[in-house]
Subunit: 257 residues, 4 copies
């Protein structure tokens, strides 16, 4: 608005757009959080961001982080990195503080919590095709291509599994008074998954398979064909548990370059 | 933490560091705010960010925006743009929602407000030297170099002045019932500063010079020699009103490359 | 090698790598060339670059430009843009001047000619699948996906066609003395392709279809399965004229993410 | 020129401009050169580039590299990195091959040599002020600020010195038949500058101080006030040997932001 001899300073802002036709992931991460407390709350935050940005078709969260995935054709904010990271991160943060009292009435926040956000983009995805041709074949056919975008989500999914198994053991040891946090850490340091399962079962009568899917597998928010937002706590690595039944998420018509 | 065959996806994150030895400005901006309401609150937010980041030596705010300036030698987060923008923006947002009830008890927030943040860097600054030499000259001598960093702050300062004069006229017309918002806008569209001053004085008996400096000049937060944070509502364009008395802000010893 | 107090200046070099798993195109362009003279020579230059960089699987040239395409998995020079552009451009230039006398003995260069180079990357490609399944279908099946990388080559191909048709008309008019360059330009300005074909045929008895494929379609260099470099002057837009018979170029095993 | 449905692919080119108001250095480097042979020739190449780009005010070369420095206000090619690197590198290369026969008639090039080029930018410089004030002081006064741009040149200058002293020893040992290259390398590996001076003097009666300044100090090309290009083989680290007598190079009026 203000035209002055100082206005030239605007030109020092450098462009930072993300390559076209790549999936854009904004991952929001808690800064120094007590991770255990907040899982329900951050689902609410991711949902608030998805409601504002129609081009986010899927979001996956676990622990104190959420990855929000924009369609590869999105043009929101001209695909500028810092604009995307700061806006998504700010809205997520705002929703977190705003909704906190609804979830944790008895333990008010004592300081303003914050998140960082980063932007990564992926050029390819594991595609599931339904091939149709003429004359028609005996069965529908899926051609699978294993690629980066799904690998990203698989990476976060593995992280969820490993962290949650560790944390379940750790807090079982600590909360029951069996160990100090230091002892628990030392005890768990060199155990593999199998040993952790056995520890839970033998010492705490916990069958890890019975743990809530939300904790074991994280929370996947996705946009349904009618544009509403649904949630699932499922395996995102295998094709069968989520992707085959949600093929349109990965191959929307408008992406068809 | 989790080592899996998916971990390669980390390498898709591209670096985005800001050039070394340049002042880094992070400007936080309200997204669609009712601008009038919030000036006190955002000073609090900027202060919270300055308390967390010791390398911010000055912050200037007006309307619904705040510019936070890092020293040119800062190495916080390796000077990565999206990390800086998202973290500063998130902390600012969090403080805004967190502190809101202290300022506006009677009007609770009805939805989570958010901010965007951008990063710009400036290579030079208007330097004020105190020259000392031998034999001593009759007076101390200032050599001034007009440069980018101070021009940036002057740019925001001019913006503050123009917006505030306009808004003072606009809301005077609207709140007193003299005009509809549309009429007020039409009336003010082609008036210059002088005409606006006269309008305020003749119709509303307001001498614009008597308006609070906080509104006329915005709010400058700066770090004092003892590292505490002070506030001033002063002219940032002229040398005499702020800079000459705060030379160390611009020429800290550690910046002396 | 030299360790001195000045060495810190190395850290001012900013990273500029290209996103992983995308095809990298380096396009080399003559700076202010007489375009007509040089087609054979630039094929030699592109070949020299392909001999040095084994990760270039295809190069397409026309007029005074050449586009060299690296496999999407290449890691040459850590995918740094300026390194790729400058090295490819320098080698191309060097070969141009070095080999000039072999082609144009009677017209020695009078000044050092130069090229610029740019880097663009593409995340996707028009893929041609050979689907095999069980029980086997009556015929092999191609699934086509139209995408960016092939569209880039098609774009340059269309450019080749339009420029060459125009230039053939232009130089026919000028060289036969029928028009001055200005008149020829004015005459051709608003003609479509059909009118240009007719002009060539009626005034110069030239059937454009008989023009050498090298001029009409440009020159495609590609790496054969035995890693040698072959050349073709073919339509790169349609599937049938080149791509279907060279499927491995687009889907090398090592790209299979 | 060609408007087609493929033209959208242009938008995949990402911007890469250098921050405003910073000195831009393009450093051109020989790829795998026999370094000894070429010093005169590369001065010619740098001069050709300076003749084409009026905004290069200084160039410093040694061994097989040249650093060309653009004024900080240059807007050539909109300050795009790859465009600058590729064009400067190409012109440098072209001049190298083009002028080769003039210098090395008896040893023609056997293959096309090439260079890479990189872009670095520096925000500050060691400034030399001439302070004038009223009433006039007894002497003119220089205020020195040690900064990045001059440090860059000092860095290359130190590199020149160290490499040249090493190479003088190495080739003295090898050319006289006293050592194999391997022995020479082993002999020199852990010697300091003083030991190298003594080796030259005692074994080869060479006083290193008598070596040509062009080899000891490299070649500085600079633009004189009348815009012609001059050359100097001087110390670029100290203020007195070059900079104080060429103050306008560093503080041209048009840079005065």
């Amino acid at each position: 608005m203000a035209n002055s001899r100082f206005e030239y300073v605007r030109n020092f802002e450098l462009p930072d757009q993300v390559l076209l036709n790549t999936w854009i992931v904004v991952r929001v991460d808690g800064r120094g959080f007590h991770k255990y407390v907040m899982r329900i709350n951050i689902i609410e935050c991711a949902k608030a961001v998805m409601q504002e940005f129609g081009d986010i078709f899927l979001a996956y969260g676990q622990s104190d982080e959420y990855s929000l995935v924009f369609t590869k054709t999105t043009n929101v904010y001209n695909r500028r990195s810092t604009k995307l990271a700061s806006t998504v991160g700010s809205l997520f943060t705002s929703a977190f503080v705003f909704h906190w009292p609804e979830y944790f009435k008895s333990t008010p926040l004592t300081y303003p919590p914050s998140f960082d956000a980063r932007v990564v983009s992926y050029p390819s995805i594991k595609v599931l095709y339904k091939v149709s041709y003429n004359p028609p074949p005996p069965v529908h056919l899926h051609i699978l291509r294993s690629q980066n975008m799904r690998d990203y989500l698989s990476w976060r999914h593995v992280d969820c599994h490993i962290n949650n198994l560790y944390n379940t053991c750790f807090w079982s040891l600590v909360h029951t008074g069996e160990s100090t946090p230091q002892d628990a850490e030392a005890l768990l340091r060199h155990t593999d998954a199998k040993a952790k399962h056995e520890l839970l079962f033998s010492q705490f009568q916990v069958n890890y398979n019975d743990i809530s899917p939300m904790f074991k597998r994280g929370s996947t928010l996705f946009r349904t064909p009618d544009k509403s937002i649904a949630i699932a706590h499922v395996d995102l690595i295998k094709d069968e548990t989520f992707w085959i039944t949600h093929i349109p998420l990965l191959t929307p018509r408008q992406d068809d370059h």
